[in-house]
């Protein structure tokens, strides 16, 4: 007869940079009301359904792996959240975009039309999306169809403090990407789209070839 396992899962939390900032503003601003779970660091390709010890050991490699310590930068943790979906879900939500990539050619100049980016989620519905244009010097972004009131972003922007000033984030159902003011040299950036209900993500490349030299040479 063995001993019963009486261990409980107790973990120590650290404040994120945002948490410290709000705590410094007072206890009213620092108000934890909900939690989310994530599986960052896990690669499900390590789940081995051919393990010789049977189904109980399929996830052994993942379960036994050591984990990194917590990082206080809220932009680089909780990237892949766990979701509650119906048990019969056969396919995970996938964010599909109306375009695969956006390129503003030299020939079009600054007068070329906006490019509409509409997001839809296959298999499960998202009520809105978080659009992140990582570098506003490449192009500009405006909301085409809004998300309605009371809709917030899901936060995993993956933007560091150095990136944030150059980036733009909006919550919407679709956005227009504009060529902007032109660039010094041909430049590209990423447009990341996150489903606000499912956490599903997708991204496309935005390239601007309309350089200032090409504009003056016209």
């Amino acid at each position: 007869m063995g001993f019963l396992n009486n261990t409980t899962v107790t973990v120590d939390a650290i404040l994120t940079k945002k948490g410290r900032e709000l705590l410094a503003q007072g206890t009213e601003a620092f108000n934890i009301t909900k939690f989310a779970l994530s599986d960052d660091e896990v690669d499900y390709n390590l789940f081995d359904v051919t393990h010789p010890n049977g189904s109980d050991s399929f996830g052994k490699v993942i379960e036994n792996m050591p984990l990194l310590e917590a990082i206080p930068d809220e932009n680089h943790v909780m990237r892949y959240k766990l979701i509650t979906l119906p048990k019969t879900t056969s396919k995970m939500p996938v964010v599909s975009l109306s375009v695969d990539s956006i390129t503003f050619d030299t020939a079009g100049g600054l007068g070329q039309p906006n490019r509409l980016v509409t997001a839809t989620t296959a298999n499960v519905t998202d009520s809105s999306y978080t659009f992140i244009l990582h570098d506003q010097s490449v192009a500009s972004m405006i909301v085409s169809e809004g998300a309605g009131s009371g809709v917030g972003a899901t936060t995993p922007f993956f933007l560091g403090e150095d990136d944030a000033p150059n980036s733009k984030t909006v919550v919407a159902k679709s956005v227009n990407i504009n060529v902007g003011q032109g660039v010094n040299v041909v430049k590209a950036t990423q447009l990341t789209i996150i489903g606000n209900d499912t956490g599903a993500t997708n991204s496309i490349t935005v390239t601007n070839k309309v350089t200032l030299n090409s504009i003056m040479g016209r």
Binding site: T8, V9, T10, V11, D12, A13, I14, L15, T16, K18, G19, L22, F30, N31, I32, T33, K34, F35, A36, L37, S38, D39, D40, V42, D43, Y44, N45, F47, F58, G59, I62, E63, M65, P66, L67, A70, E74, V77, M78, Y80, K81, L82, I83, T84, L85, K87, T88, S90, K91, M92, V94, A122, A153, T154, T155, D197, T198, G199, A200, T201
Partner: protein, 353 residues
């Protein structure tokens, strides 16, 4: 379909179970000195510090600051005289009067507005001495307060080999004091001869019975020990120089008496206020993941085909959010926790302030 789960937060006096338990206070004690050690075995001073303010105090290190750039002061020693004797300068004579400045600084911090001099326990000629020696624990080592009843300081005159007869062993009398005096300096205990080597404080002589007057006063909340100068001078053979307008080098003598014995054992005490969050994960929730390796291809198929109707996820992080979906705190598990429709989990997240 959900990513977040709201905490069930109930008022503190509610009988209904709440997911959030606030204002949990735990008293944590640990070694006072560098790296959590409870004793210092080697003592050093900094020539830079002693050259600039050494007549007032000496910072004492547990590693040589000349060769170890990470060495930090552990405590400071000082000598104070009510009239400034033992230091350069006097009334009407130029000089910093360092010992007077130190004495008045200590009395102003530790005594009431109508008290001028420290009064020690017992009876004798040195109940209200004109000079004192003091130890002030460095802020980063003290953190919140010293742990009464858990420190021991040895003193011995420099040049005399430490031995049973030559070493003065000092502790506090908190173990015999159920209702300590509390004044402007917080709680006050007497410093008495004795030892904590056996694990509990064993007093040799009570403060009231100490010939000539008690050894000193201990202010745990401020991390300051004020030692009766004349009594210490006799017991530890400090050879205090208390001439007027004369630098007596008394701070250095006091430091040497500590260094000569290599024994200052102490603990600190901290009250940690925590909040506990019970993250209840029912069997039907959080069984799918937005992790890109959870799916393969572009149509959302599971990477592991057996996940259909029997999905499994592995929890590695718990994020605590506010109503604006801002991540305020993050907790990591020591290893991934398997979650499926046949498993439930309660993860208790402890957040210290």
């Amino acid at each position: 379909m959900a990513i977040y789960k709201d905490f069930n937060i109930q008022p503190e006096n509610s009988l209904v179970s709440s997911d959030v338990v606030t204002n949990v206070k735990d008293t944590v004690s640990s070694g006072m000195w560098a790296d959590g050690s409870n004793s210092i075995s080697a003592y050093f001073t900094s020539s830079t510090q002693s050259g600039s303010s050494g007549t007032y105090y000496l910072d004492v290190y547990s590693a040589n600051p000349q060769s170890d750039s990470t060495a930090k002061p552990q405590f400071s020693v000082a000598y104070g005289h009510f009239n400034g004797s033992g230091s350069v300068g006097t009334v009407g004579v130029d000089g910093n009067r360092a010992s007077a400045a130190i004495y008045r600084q200590l009395s102003n911090t530790l005594l009431g507005p109508n008290e001028e001099k420290f009064t020690f326990a017992g009876s004798g000629t040195n109940i209200t001495p004109k000079y004192v020696y003091a130890i002030s624990i460095a802020r980063q080592q003290l953190r919140e307060k010293m742990d009464p009843g858990n420190w021991e300081l040895h003193l011995s005159a420099s040049g005399i080999a430490p031995g049973a007869g030559n070493v003065l062993k000092l502790i506090d009398d908190s173990g015999a004091t159920t209702n300590p005096t509390v004044n402007q300096g917080g709680r006050v205990f007497n410093i008495v001869s004795g030892s904590i080597a056996s694990g509990t404080a064993v007093r040799k002589t009570d403060a009231a019975s100490q010939p000539g007057g008690g050894y000193g006063l201990f202010y745990p909340d401020l991390g300051i020990l004020v030692l009766n100068g004349p009594v210490l001078n006799t017991s530890a053979s400090l050879a205090t120089v208390s001439g007027s307008n004369l630098e007596g080098g008394n701070v250095g003598k006091f430091y040497n008496s500590i260094r000569n014995t290599n024994k200052f054992q102490a603990r600190r005490e901290e009250v940690i206020t925590s909040q506990h969050y019970f993250c209840r994960v029912p069997n039907k929730e959080f069984n799918f993941s937005s992790n890109p390796t959870f799916t393969s291809g572009s149509n959302g198929d599971f990477t592991v085909s057996t996940f259909f109707k029997n999905p499994k996820t592995f929890i590695t992080q718990v994020g605590l959010y506010n109503d604006n979906n801002e991540l305020l705190a993050i907790a990591k598990l020591s290893k991934p926790l398997l979650k499926s429709y046949s498993k439930e989990a309660i993860i208790k997240v402890k957040l210290d302030f």
